[in-house]
Symmetry: C2
Subunit: 188 residues, 2 copies
């Protein structure tokens, strides 16, 4: 994998307390937050660029609404003072935000994407990142999702939903990698 000569941007999507709400049900990748924390440490220690994406829902019932406890970042991924936080209101971190403009202006052409939910905001962002021409890596064990029914009513476990999303994305919109590959590339 490429790290863009140090310019590869680490993007952490929507890892806020609302994600712990029991209504989400069964999840996969219980180690995902620790993996995100390890990537953040590596990025901070080597002075690489980090973008924290925060979902500021405008839906009245959402736990992600600003002012709700659920809007706060999870402790493992809390931005440090001075780090860039980009607020979004839709699924894709590229819509209604200046993320693309910031990346282009800084010459950051490689994106390392982590966060939640794999098949929702992560997938929406990765699909756009690839189509916008960024060299995009999705760190699959630094992301997670939840079980759900498919359109025909068949229950799919979180691991199945995750695996279908990754299959749709890999080699079409991004390259799927794991945390250890990224840490090795950074020299950790």
């Amino acid at each position: 994998m490429s790290l863009g000569d140090g310019t590869a941007a680490l993007i952490v999507i929507d890892v806020q307390k609302a994600i712990d709400h029991p209504s989400h049900g069964e999840r996969n990748n219980l180690q995902a937050e620790n993996n995100m924390a390890a990537l953040l440490r590596a990025w901070r220690d080597t002075g690489r660029p980090i973008y924290h994406i925060r979902h500021d829902s405008v839906e009245p019932e959402s736990h992600y609404r600003p002012g709700q406890p659920g809007n706060e970042f999870e402790p493992e991924v809390r931005p440090l003072s001075g780090e860039v936080v980009i607020a979004k209101q839709t699924n894709s971190a590229f819509i209604g935000t200046d993320l693309e403009a910031r990346l282009r202006q800084a010459g950051q052409k490689v994106l390392i994407v982590t966060g939640v939910i794999t098949n929702n905001c992560v997938e929406a962002t990765v699909r756009m990142a690839g189509n916008l021409g960024f060299e995009t890596y999705l760190v699959e064990d630094a992301a997670f999702t939840f079980g759900r029914k498919d359109w025909n009513g068949t229950w799919r476990t979180a691991e199945e939903v995750h695996a279908m999303s990754l299959a749709n994305l890999d080699r079409e919109f991004c390259t799927v990698v794991v945390t250890n590959e990224v840490l090795e590339a950074v020299g950790r």
Copy 2:
């Protein structure tokens, strides 16, 4: 469903001869092309706006490359003289094209999306359409996909891949409908 007082735009994505190539394998929704043809007839007869999206691949090996027979539209959805054809080079019909600008300029806020492949270019376009604020309907029996392995190596039939994609999209990025609902709304 809403048809935007006659301004709802019918969008047909990537229905070109390359989609018949046997390398794609088993597909679902064998009636999809006929359903698209029925929707096109209804849109033409009632003077509603139509956007034909054509994939002009830049990949050397792609059957969708301009100049290849696979680049030609399938007969059921061939544009009539004077109809709008928008060429794209990525998965999403909104990236690298003037589709959004045309829709906004014409005040067309409702989109009826059909075409191929459900979990690839159709899903990439629908995700962006919803996030860009368009009232978006995906006509699920006027779209289709192919069987494939998921990321864990489990084979998923075309119908399973289709059903997982629809579940990801419905009520998050669009409303999933069927052809007959749309035809009834048009009064056919």
